[in-house]
Subunit: 187 residues, 2 copies
């Protein structure tokens, strides 16, 4: 196999997910993932630091997308409008094409404490990044922290609903329903 690997990262991700589901995360090695994807271990390490990061490379992209949307929100947007823009940007990331992958990923993560910890850390980092983004927009620190925590709460609850929902329900619709629930809850 040559040095050029068309979508090696995507194939490695699929291979890892299949093996984690079959043998469990702990029972799977990098060599096995590379083998299943038809690449060398060397190629694996060109794309991912370790077998855990195969599942979390997307988290960085998600954070960039949400923080980018927050920064691009109109200057006169309220803190909640700005954070809503960021949460809705996650729906562009989690399009229908990622639904099945997201479901399988969630199943592996929920059943593996080490991965669950990693997921919690990524969510905490996302919260801090969104809070920092609101501070840069001139929002007061207390309000920024609360709006970021609330935004991530909406994202998490919506995500859980979305992966349990029928295939024709778009993520953006679930987010809007969760935002309605939040408004009713705190009214």
């Amino acid at each position: 196999m040559g040095r050029w690997e068309p979508d090696a990262a995507g194939r490695l991700r699929e291979a890892a997910m299949a093996l984690y589901a079959e043998r469990g995360y702990d029972g799977t090695t990098v060599a096995e993932i590379a083998d299943r994807a038809g690449v060398t271990a060397r190629t694996f390490f060109r794309h991912f630091a370790d077998k855990r990061e195969v599942l979390f490379a997307g988290s960085e992209l998600l954070q960039q997308q949400m923080v980018g949307a927050l920064a691009a929100a109109p200057a006169d947007a309220t803190p909640m409008e700005a954070i809503t823009t960021a949460v809705l940007a996650s729906a562009e990331f989690f399009g229908d094409i990622r639904r099945d992958y997201s479901r399988r990923r969630a199943a592996v993560i929920t059943s593996t404490p080490e991965l669950l910890e990693r997921e919690l850390i990524k969510m905490a980092k996302l919260t801090t990044a969104l809070s920092d983004g609101l501070l840069e927009r001139g929002v007061a620190p207390d309000v920024a922290a609360l709006a970021a925590e609330t935004g991530v709460a909406v994202f998490r609850v919506s995500f859980e609903r979305w992966i349990s929902a029928p295939d024709d329900v778009p993520f953006a619709d679930v987010i809007q329903a969760t935002l309605k629930n939040l408004a009713a809850l705190t009214a």
Copy 2:
């Protein structure tokens, strides 16, 4: 030293905190903590599973107090009223007497990735416990999850504010201020 140790747990906690601040968490052993507290390692292990749990035994109590308050809220309380009762119950836990300890604990935890992970896991468990408590009250699953996440968000933001606030600001007042911010944010 005899088998009976008046408040050995409290002295071990103080000793651990002092040593973590002096030498760092990684640089401290159970033997050193026991020695500083004037007890044997055997006594340490009667109270705590390991040096990490010295800092987290209180988290179980906090969760019990909050979940108990949620269950005891009036039957006709709205989900948000019930969760607010639970969050305010944390103010009884974090009285003025725990303020200094809480500040020092937060400093150690923030500077130690392993402890930060543990703290995130405890907060996730608290969220699940509060969501389960709301389900038992007959709240719909989507609303229960969102109310629990929102309640923990209010708790976290308030806690951060409280440990940075002057010594005469009660935790309950900070929680009320955060709840007001939340209402303004989502109005």
